[in-house]
């Protein structure tokens, strides 16, 4: 009967069993291991060594852009094209968590539900939780799990809040940046940071009258920011709702993947990404460590009181806190 207590899932959910399930392409194992990655559970650290050697096959494509630009509809269409080419597709769709309640409504899946029962497609929605860069902390583990499970293409749809969403470069091979006409500030929205990370630009809703203007603006800005000596960033137009321009987008994605491999850029990129991810992980571990020390000591409360009553300035207090928690000053 549903919801009844079951014996501890230790056998079904033990890391080795899950890893083996992932390698076999078992949907439950994939889904469960992703959950453990989200919860930052020890099981993931135990399972990953078995999976890491089997990653590196998939082409990882990030799709980012302001809210309302039609990312999910685009992703839905890209899935269809990739599937028609008999490629297996994994999708990671990230939506924002409420900073107040920590809850979220994850509605990207809605736009792709027609692929839901297709055995060659796996769609997972993730909430951003504490992350602010457009992704979830579990994104790259999720990508590796899907890679190891044999998906050929992994699409990552970012939160789409706007300018700060540059985390996607930390693990994607190809970054597609989507703009739309008539969103008022669409060019403003894509200037800071997003210009630098794009491998492919897409102007969606290209049936709108001011689409051509957006294309021109993008071209002008690219001219001012030449950053890719060997890859010429294409500016494509699509009408995702009817599938117009999608074959061209897919061709550009494939071309970029080939370019990365053949030009040797991929190796360099992978190293950079690994560095960035390790640093981030270090940050996270360090942050946890500091929180634990602070919680175990009364120094924070006492020093905060000193600062609030003006007996001590913030900088001096911070130095004292550092020392009291057990670290030396440089």
């Amino acid at each position: 009967m549903n919801g009844e207590p079951r014996p501890p899932r230790s056998r079904r959910d033990d890391p080795h069993t899950l890893a083996a399930g992932v390698r076999r392409g078992d949907l439950r194992s994939i889904a469960r291991l992703i959950t453990f990655a989200e919860r930052d559970e020890a099981a993931v650290a135990e399972a990953m060594p078995f999976l890491q050697p089997h990653t590196g096959r998939a082409h990882i494509v990030g799709i980012t852009g302001a809210p309302g630009c039609g990312k999910s509809t685009l992703v839905d269409q890209v899935i269809a094209i990739a599937r028609a080419a008999t490629l297996r597709v994994g999708v990671v769709a990230v939506d924002p968590s409420s900073p107040f309640t920590r809850g979220a409504i994850l509605a990207d899946r809605l736009r792709m539900q027609r692929h839901s029962t297709d055995t060659g497609t796996f769609i997972r929605s993730l909430a951003s939780r504490d992350e602010l860069g457009g992704l979830s902390a579990a994104t790259w583990d999720t990508v590796r799990i899907l890679d190891a499970a044999g998906y050929d293409v992994i699409l990552i749809e970012t939160v789409g809040a706007g300018q700060l969403e540059t985390d996607i470069v930390a693990g994607a091979h190809t970054v597609v940046v989507v703009a739309v006409p008539g969103l008022g500030d669409s060019i403003q929205a894509i200037k800071a940071g997003l210009m630098e990370i794009a491998d492919i630009f897409v102007v969606n809703m290209a049936d709108r009258p001011d689409a051509a203007q957006v294309v021109n603006d993008l071209r002008d800005m690219l001219r001012l920011n030449p950053d890719h000596p060997t890859w010429e960033i294409p500016i494509l137009t699509t009408v995702a709702t009817v599938g117009a321009g999608l074959p061209e987008l897919w061709a550009a994605i494939e071309r970029h993947g080939t370019h990365l491999r053949e030009s040797g850029t991929l190796a360099g990129r992978s190293k950079n990404q690994a560095r960035a991810e390790l640093l981030k992980s270090l940050d996270r571990q360090w942050h946890r460590h500091v929180q634990e020390r602070v919680a175990a000591s009364g120094s924070l409360a006492r020093l905060a009181e000193e600062v609030a009553s003006k007996r001590l300035d913030t900088h001096s207090a911070a130095t004292l806190l550092w020392e009291e928690l057990g670290w030396k000053q440089r």
């Binding site: 409504i105 509605a107 809605l110 736009r111 009817v242």
Partner: protein, 575 residues
């Protein structure tokens, strides 16, 4: 709105301003001298008083609240612009409103039986609900349809079902309303064909197709095609009926579903009238005479439980529409300015707990509809919140209207609440709020643009969430639910039992298969391909639909053709 004031007695503005000022001062004096003392002994029983939709209610209403009004401009006479007091000079003294209870479940015979039961008990007009497959243009044997055939309405697949549904009902005398939207064009063709088979000439066919597709995108979600081609289909229907079925209402612009989805009274007004305007404008843009169509645009409003707010809402609706048709669209025929409406008491106000209480709610709501001047009325049955009404319950609902009509005197006087300081204030206030919203919609590019941007849906979702919060916080009391609740007895009494015959699906599918076997496949193919061509060419599809229907094409086949031409709409939910 003009602020210059002229009183009914013709005195100049200054005198009236002075009178208003004097009254306002008297009101303040009363507050100081009388109200304060009273509040010391009996404080207000709530921190604030608001209508159901959140409009604040003052401590008292006086002539000062109406000081800005011009009797002729704002209140006027019934049967005369701006129709605040009613669309007919005699209202119910001439003709009572139509008692029009919705019926629909199972297969055509089941609903035909329910029609006859209702007519025998004094109903004066018919109204039909259809099942989900029919509403969404699918045949009863479609894979998605399996569990839904005949459950929430009657199953109609072909003209044969239509013949059975209206068997023994003279379609030139008993007007039938059809609660059908996306495939309204199919059902209207079936209705006309059935009337023809009865020997009723097209110019005598009387009835209504709801057809209002715009509210589907914001409230009920029973759409098939995208907004633009869907509006075109509505205009095709309006054009066809203007020419061929002059006594048939091709559209019933609906606020009911919008209100049930959680909108406030002002939102219901604004979104409904904006929808109606969109259809009228689309017809005019196509080149149809502005005075040929609006007379046949009818409306359908909710009547919720806040008695005075609903009466004010219906009066405001007539006034706003009259002004829009005359001033914005330039209609010259007075019949174009008249807003005719059907009302239904609010389903969303009913409780599953202590169901007999629903009779009381429905009665109050029905009285509001009558005092608000409706032309036609459906009163909910006490069990309608969770099942197709049982015979006993629907009979009480019919009797409710009859008692109001014949015993209470409410039907013997025209617009009795005119001049009430409160009701007129509320009417003004609702008109103001609705106009403000409608101007916002226009500023954002019109109704279709607002639907595609999710603006309307967001407004409704927010109002729905606000109401839910108020109920759960105990600020909005619902008797039997969050107050005066009882230990649940669990079961409905035996005499309220109702069940759709479980064999309905098999029977319906068998009939469908038989029709398919007996008809001429060649005739159907030809009709369908002509329909497809008409749809692609941008011609009015109705003549082709009529041919397809009389060749016994199924509703699924016809709608699939339209799906091929127009595509299917996928909406994005707005929270």
């Amino acid at each position: 709105m003009e602020t210059k004031v002229t009183s009914a007695t013709g005195k100049d503005g200054r005198d009236t301003d002075a009178a208003v000022e004097a009254m306002a001062q008297a009101h303040d004096e009363w507050r100081r001298a009388v109200l304060q003392a009273s509040l010391q002994r009996f404080p207000h029983r709530k921190p604030g008083f608001n209508t159901l939709s959140g409009i604040p209610i003052n401590d008292l209403y006086t002539p000062a609240d109406l000081g800005h009004q011009d009797f002729a401009r704002d209140i006027g006479f019934p049967g005369q612009y701006p129709y605040t007091r009613g669309v007919h000079a005699t209202m119910y003294r001439g003709r009572l409103w139509t008692i029009r209870q919705v019926a629909g479940f199972g297969s055509a015979e089941d609903t035909n039986q329910r029609y006859k039961y209702l007519l025998a008990h004094g109903e004066t007009g018919l109204s039909t609900d259809f099942d989900l497959p029919t509403l969404l243009g699918r045949d009863s044997d479609h894979p998605l349809a399996r569990a839904e055939v005949g459950k929430i309405g009657v199953a109609i697949d072909t003209l044969r079902d239509a013949h059975i549904l209206w068997d023994g009902i003279p379609l030139g005398e008993v007007s039938t309303s059809m609660t059908i939207t996306s495939p309204a064009f199919v059902l209207t063709a079936m209705y006309e064909a059935t009337a023809a088979a009865q020997g009723v000439s097209a110019d005598r066919v009387t009835g209504t197709a709801q057809a209002d597709i715009l509210k589907e995108y914001t409230a009920q979600n029973e759409y098939i095609f995208p907004p633009e081609p869907s509006v075109r289909l509505v205009v095709d229907l309006m054009e066809y009926c203007a020419r061929r079925l002059p006594r048939f209402n091709p559209v019933s612009v609906s606020g009911y579903h919008i209100r049930e989805a959680g909108a406030t009274a002002a939102q219901e007004l604004a979104f409904t009238l904006a929808d109606g305007y969109t259809y009228a404008k689309a017809a005019v843009d196509r080149g149809l005479d502005v005075d040929a169509l609006p007379p046949r645009i009818s409306f359908f409003f909710d009547v919720h439980i806040d008695f005075f707010e609903e009466i004010a809402k219906l009066r405001a609706a007539r006034r706003i529409w009259a002004r829009m048709m005359r001033e914005k669209l330039g209609a010259r025929d007075p019949r174009s300015w008249m807003l005719r409406m059907h009302c239904q008491t609010a389903g969303v106000s009913l409780t599953a707990q202590q169901v007999e209480n629903n009779i009381v709610r429905t009665t109050v709501e029905a009285l509001a509809a009558v005092l608000g001047g409706t032309q036609s009325l459906h009163t909910n049955s006490m069990d309608e919140a969770f099942q197709i009404p049982s015979e006993k319950a629907i009979k009480i609902a019919v009797r409710t209207q009859q008692i109001l009509a014949h015993e209470t005197g409410a039907a013997d006087v025209v617009d009795p609440l005119a001049g009430s300081y409160y009701v007129e204030s509320l009417t003004d206030r609702l008109e103001e709020e609705a106009m403000s919203l409608m101007n916002e919609i226009e500023r954002r590019g019109g109704m279709v643009a607002c639907i595609e941007a999710g603006f309307i849906q967001k407004q409704i979702a927010n109002s729905a969430a606000d109401f839910q919060r108020a109920v759960e916080a105990g600020e909005q009391i619902i008797v039997g639910m969050n107050a005066y609740a009882e230990e649940e007895r669990g079961e409905l009494s035996d005499d309220l039992f109702f069940q759709v015959d479980p064999a309905t699906t098999e029977r319906q599918v068998a009939r469908l298969r038989q029709v398919r076997a007996e008809r001429s496949g060649a005739d159907v193919s030809r009709a369908l391909s002509e329909l497809k061509q008409a749809a692609k060419d941008g011609r009015n599809i109705m003549p082709s639909v009529r041919d397809a229907v009389t060749a016994y094409a199924t509703i699924g086949e016809i709608c699939d053709i339209m799906r091929e031409v127009f595509g299917e709409y996928k909406a994005l939910p707005v929270f």
